[in-house]
Amino acid sequence: MLPVIVGVSVCVFLIIHMMPGDPARIMAGIDASEADVRVVRHSLRLDEPLYLQYFHFVGRAAVGDFGVSFRTRRPVMEEIGSRYLNTLLLGTASILVAVFLGGITGIISAVKKYSIFDNLSLLISLAGVSMPTFYLGLLLMLFFSVKLGWFPLAGKESWAHLVLPAVTLGTPSAAVISRMVRSSLVEVMDQDYIRTARAKGLREWVVIGKHALRNAMINAVTVVGLQAGYLLGGAVVTETVFAWPGIGRLVVQSILARDFPVVQAAVLILAVTFVVINLLTDLLYGLLDPRISVQ
């Protein structure tokens, strides 16, 4: 995990050096004199060798200091702070939506294999993974906010504002989770211990709920973990559609405003969160299935 995080930090560090133009000039402004630019360059340590700059960047990043936003002149972490929590809130809500929707449809599809419901959910899943998230978001907005008026259009003033973004972000993952739950449950249902459970005269819902589902869950957890990470990336789009004040929307706004310190910080934070979620998934996988040892 550590080499990956180091690699990510190098990539993020290089963002500011690979962009066209002189960062010191951008920071100082177009009208600044050559002397002013030199002062800014020195204060940003852009006149030091690259590797020293990198160590300095990592040292500061480790204590949450990403410098000052080019746009607002406020410390980057102040810009990011609450937005990160908003993104985590949206991410958590959407993974709940995804697990709930995907889990239920997956279980029903597996139990009623090849039924109309199963085929229909396959079709919806296919459409779900073929649909861009922003389109789903706009359609939900059009129907539930504009036509029915059930939910607010955009922003984040109340809990009701969370519903449509969470459904938008969670639905593609629900499609993937549904297929995964279905296929692993179908596989488990053929196992000997399920036959034994049935032979004992257990009710079908106990067989499914207690014996089959617990074993099928092991595979599903990995997919949920992967999807949770994927949601962080999807947040970039969903937050823009619903004007949700999260870190993803901040990245897009900062790129368009060429506010590189904020871009660096936000991308690094999202990537590290993703790596940590993946690590937790691996650990959880080991806990759920004792046959897999965690090194």
Binding site: G7, L126, P132, T133, V146, L232, V236, T240, A271
Partner: protein, 307 residues
């Protein structure tokens, strides 16, 4: 045909080696077999037809588009779908159908170019990594891991932050974003055939490693790559349109579907058709590609598992 029968078929025909002269490649039969398989997969043919239609529309755009996709007509803004403008007009009075027709070109090009770029870099990396092994493999795969540490579209977004927003840069960034998938697949496939007797035979007769890779390894992993390529064109179209939607890809007045949606969003209350139709076009094309990919996977490569 049942799944078990499918598994009995030789997935990619006999390995194409000079050493294997007893059983020459039945090229004709191979093509026919793939075609038969495709026909059996219920959804692959409809998927393929949809994709083909979009390709035709893209090629014939100037002939079939009823209006100019770029030219403003400020006397007719935000018209609802009707007889002159079948899918209505946008806020600058441009015909939405014509814009969608021209947009098919952009989307297909976006998807193809980014996937070709990803393949051009990812496949040699993966094949090399798998074939050489050892330290080279470890280093290359660590690099791939780093690319994969950026969740979803974030890597493409981060690359755009360096290159700056434009259609071409969106293709480049989606291409780079797709490299890990091809590198991993190529590596995995290479590893799985590396120990086959015909590769060992190449080594035994002292064949140049590059010739072995080109003549014997690559032809045998081609099917996997083609299947993955079809899948990835769809994903690349989705990602590129997301970038355009965010304002990081194609710029106005380009009739790119994602950009059209981004623009239409501002008029969603008064002219929802401006949002609905470009989105439908994206779904149809990507769905077609996904269905075709599913059929191709079964036909070319029954052993390949879903990612």
């Amino acid at each position: 045909m049942s799944r078990s029968n499918l598994m009995n078929l030789k997935p990619m025909g006999p390995p194409r080696t000079d050493l294997d002269r007893e059983e020459p490649l039945p090229r004709q039969n191979e093509t026919r077999r793939i075609w038969n398989q495709l026909k059996r997969s219920r959804l692959a043919i409809p998927g393929g037809i949809v994709v083909l239609l979009f390709i035709l529309v893209a090629i014939l755009a100037p002939l079939i588009a009823p209006h100019d996709p770029i030219k403003n007509n400020l006397t007719k803004p935000l018209l609802a779908p009707g007889s002159i403008h079948l899918l209505g007009t946008d806020e600058l009075g441009r015909d939405i159908l014509s814009r969608i027709i021209y947009g098919a070109r952009l989307s297909l090009v976006e998807g193809l170019i980014s996937v070709l770029l990803a393949m051009a870099i990812g496949v040699p990396l993966g094949v090399l990594s798998g074939f050489v092994g050892g330290k080279t493999d470890a280093i290359l795969m660590r690099l791939v891991d780093i690319l994969m540490a950026f969740p979803g579209v974030l890597l493409a977004v981060a690359i755009i932050s360096v290159l700056g927003p434009s259609l071409v840069n969106a293709m480049i960034s989606v291409g780079i974003y797709t490299i890990p998938m091809f590198a991993r697949l190529a590596r995995g496939s290479t590893l799985s055939i590396k120990e086959e007797p015909y590769i060992e035979a190449c080594r035994a007769i002292g064949m140049n490693p590059f010739r072995t890779l080109y003549r014997h390894v690559f032809p045998n992993i081609r099917a996997h790559l083609l299947v993955m390529g079809t899948l990835r064109v769809g994903t690349a179209i989705l990602t590129a349109s997301s970038l355009s939607f965010l304002g990081l890809g194609a710029q106005p007045p380009s009739p790119e579907w994602g950009a059209m949606l981004s623009n239409g969003r501002n008029y969603i209350l008064v002219a929802p058709h401006q949002v609905i139709f470009p989105g439908l076009a994206i779904i149809l094309l990507v769905l077609g590609l996904n269905l075709l990919q599913d059929g191709l996977r079964l036909a070319l490569d029954p052993k390949m598992t879903e990612r």
